[in-house]
Subunit: 136 residues, 2 copies
């Protein structure tokens, strides 16, 4: 089973242009072509695209994805360690990022609570609010 570029785009959630762009910059190996010169993506290609979208979701910069991508082609024995290392380091960064976001959610919670208090008082007293506002 193979897929046209349009199908690959739909299934991967990337745009057709992005697919070609990723190929240009060496993030994906050029897929096979059909008789008319059109790209044909395999399930394996799609699996790699899926993994790339996961890495992208986590904010991994393209140049790092490219390093990883290119290690795939130098052979397992020589690069498995390095690839694992990249993922382990990146996972640590993602975990930090999650912690940062959780801290930010707490700040948002606090601010939102503050506004709720303001709104509860608003119908009654308007002058007070400047003070409440300042304290937030």
């Amino acid at each position: 089973m193979t897929y046209s570029i349009a199908q690959a785009a739909t299934r991967s959630g990337l745009s057709i242009d992005t697919l070609r762009y990723y190929e240009r910059i060496g993030l994906v190996e050029p897929p096979a072509r059909d008789a008319g010169g059109r790209r044909t993506y395999t399930d394996e290609d799609l699996a790699w695209l899926y993994f790339l979208t996961r890495l992208r979701t986590t904010g991994m910069p393209i140049r790092m994805m490219r390093e990883y991508a290119q290690l795939r082609h130098v052979g397992v024995a020589t690069s498995a360690r390095r690839r694992r290392q990249i993922l382990v380091e990146h996972r640590a960064e993602v975990r930090e990022r999650i912690a940062e976001l959780q801290a930010s959610v707490e700040v948002l919670d606090y601010k939102i609570q503050n506004y709720e208090e303001i709104e509860r008082r608003l119908p009654r007293v308007a002058a007070e609010n400047a003070l409440i506002e300042e304290a937030s």
Copy 2:
């Protein structure tokens, strides 16, 4: 107590250029100036900068931060509701983002485990690895 732009930069974690940039685009009110025309930041200014960095951390686009920033200056009564709404919506997005990242961490965990298995086998059999690799 007031702070020079260099001090404000250090304390907020933003660069001097970014501080001036934020002012230009209306994210922060122009701070007071000293006799020589230099910016002097108050603790209140710094508190706002801190909150901005929290919003930035969560990936809020600058145009939304600006909408929020500008609502601060139209008065509490008229904008508290809208501001709360912005924060509530944004908090929902941040929570979604956290979930996405957690899903990605799981994918990373899986891949990393796979590499660990490969590495355990590597010293013994090299030919096997291509197969193991495929399966990942």
